[in-house]
């Protein structure tokens, strides 16, 4: 195949070539980002284990459960451990500096989440001191937090009466090996929250937002959930036990059908770029009608002519796709920082990159097929009517 001809035909209209490649780059870059957002939303759900349950109020997630439920849940057959977990909802210095904070039962919560590992500092200090906290690696890196540093957090659900922020000393920095645990959280003692509320130093709802339950490996989580629900069916507050994955999925749906919305935008971008590239390739094909006739008169058969046109489409798309994919990879970390707590586990996965490569090939094939087929079917005498 005349490779040089393929390239020179593309380069014949430099501006058109560059603009089409640029359009493709932007489209593939956007598609990578949009797909990554969907994958990120889904990652926590997929990484959840079926033997970890979340017990919440049957009325609403925003209704706290009595602390006393913890000991009752522990007695349900199949329950290994249970931990309180309360959303704190504060901010660091300014409201824009938001990351999730949770009041937890340190030992039992960490027993529920063995995928959490301490990178720096002392777990023992955290477990023994109610003034201390654990901070996720992403938040630590974002704000430059160090072990031993005091972090002021202003409570919104639990504001201090003296209007001052809560102060937590960083005992350690953690990282979770699974995406179902956010690496941006600040975790502190539930006992400290309770004591502060009881001493009237702060105000806020009593009780625990949810209980995290770890089932024994030999138990049937479905039966455990049914038993927990049944235990509190008569009140004082009914509960709903759900697998962790289902609980995570609630948050995704709470902000609307984000995956559908994001995928719809992606579909629109894809359709627009396919039509744009197809239009470009049809222009290239039309302009090369005479050249196709020349090639055929020289003895190039239909298959070679087909390959010449299709190759142009593939080169055009692969160039644009490669740049777009490269941009998505290079900007992954800045995007992660930009998206912040909205998509805490944002990453451009190999799966997303693989899809982008396949998509690029697909666009190239689709856009090149029609002009290539037309060219291969052209009759020499029609194309060279003005010559032979």
């Amino acid at each position: 195949m005349p490779i040089r001809l393929v390239w020179k035909q593309l380069w014949r209209h430099k501006l058109r070539f560059l603009l089409t490649v640029a359009s493709l780059s932007v489209a593939i870059f956007l598609l990578c980002i949009l797909r990554s957002l969907v994958v990120t939303l889904d990652a926590g759900v997929r990484a959840s284990t079926t033997h970890r349950l979340i017990v919440q109020s049957a009325v609403s997630l925003f209704v706290n459960l009595p602390e006393a439920y913890e000991s009752k849940i522990r007695q349900v057959d199949g329950v290994d451990t249970c931990a309180k977990m309360q959303w704190f909802g504060g901010y660091y210095k300014e409201q824009a500096n938001f990351f999730a904070q949770f009041a937890i039962d340190p030992e039992s919560w960490l027993a529920c989440y063995p995928e959490v590992e301490i990178l720096e500092g002392s777990l023992k200090t955290f477990l023994t001191s109610r003034q201390h906290c654990l901070v996720g690696i992403r938040t630590a890196e974002k704000y430059g937090f160090q072990v031993g540093q005091t972090v002021p957090i202003t409570g919104t659900i639990f504001p201090r009466v003296d209007q001052k922020p809560w102060e937590f000393v960083i005992a350690g920095i953690y990282r979770a090996t699974s995406p179902n645990v956010d690496n941006a959280n600040l975790l502190f003692h539930f006992d400290r929250l309770r004591e502060t509320l009881l001493s009237k130093e702060a105000t806020g709802p009593p009780g625990s937002g949810v209980f995290v339950v770890r089932c024994r490996p030999d138990s049937d989580p479905v039966q455990v959930m049914a038993d927990i629900d049944a235990l509190f069916a008569g009140g004082p507050q009914r509960v709903q036990a759900t697998p962790e994955g289902e609980f995570q999925a609630q948050f995704v749906t709470m902000v609307g059908n984000v995956p559908f919305f994001v995928s719809s935008i992606g579909g629109g971008v894809l359709a627009a770029i396919v039509l744009a590239v197809l239009n470009t390739m049809l222009m290239y094909g039309r302009e090369q009608t005479r050249d196709v006739g020349i090639l055929k008169s020289l003895g190039f058969n239909d298959r070679i002519v087909f390959a010449v046109l299709l190759s142009q489409s593939m080169i055009l798309c692969l160039a644009g796709g490669a740049i777009g994919i490269g941009l998505a990879v290079v900007t992954a970390t800045p995007m992660q920082n930009l998206l912040g707590t909205a998509f805490p586990n944002y990453q451009v996965s190999e799966q997303v990159l693989g899809s982008a490569v396949l998509l690029t090939f697909g666009i190239g094939l689709f856009a090149g097929l029609m002009p290539a087929l037309s060219a291969s079917r052209l009759k020499v005498i029609d194309t060279l009517r003005r010559g032979i």
Binding site: M1, L5, K8, W11, D291, K296, N301
Partner: protein, 233 residues
Amino acid sequence: MPSMIHIDKVTRQYSRGGETLTVLDELDLDIEEGGFYALMGPSGSGKTTLLNLIGGLDQPDGGQVLVDGVDIHDLDGADLSAWRSENVGFVFQGFNLIPVLTARENVTLPLLLTPLSRRQRQQHALTALQLVGLSDRSEHRPDQLSGGQEQRVAIARAVVTDPKVILADEPTGDLDRQSADSVLDLLVRLNREMNKTIVMVTHDPLAAQHATQIVHMDKGKLGQIEARKTVEA
């Protein structure tokens, strides 16, 4: 001289606006190997159609076209393309060079279908350009050449695979007299020195004088065949 091209009762018809036009009507013609034939006649007499049939660019509705003993219309698409690349060189009125390629690249194109190495292809292309006196213009694109030079590049491309037959359709139609003479002299040289069989369609009586035979056509039928003593190249 043995026959290089044997045309036997060839008919070609076209349908236009529901009407059937007979462009070639049971035409017989033998073209000798090493001959230089000029096809002359008024517009619509079937000259170009005949050239297309000899080059395998068009299919007859009846009859046979044998080139060097091969009934070319028995060949299917890919085989016909391969046969064309090995046996026929075309020279077009409008030169038909590919505008994005240099003269050397245009001449190299037909060689891509041969088993020659890249280096051999370059050597052959430069030799062909030398033959037409344009080795110093090898890196020029068609838009950087004069009409006469473009046509000489086209001739270099036509002969670079060393085909037996060269088919030229009004090769001087778009050229001034001086350039036309230069191109015609080149065709005469190819005919005499390299024994190429040349079939040239022309309206120009002065161009036809360079041929060894002038075949007159009218309304799809053969007229007088005039044997000539050619002008000196």
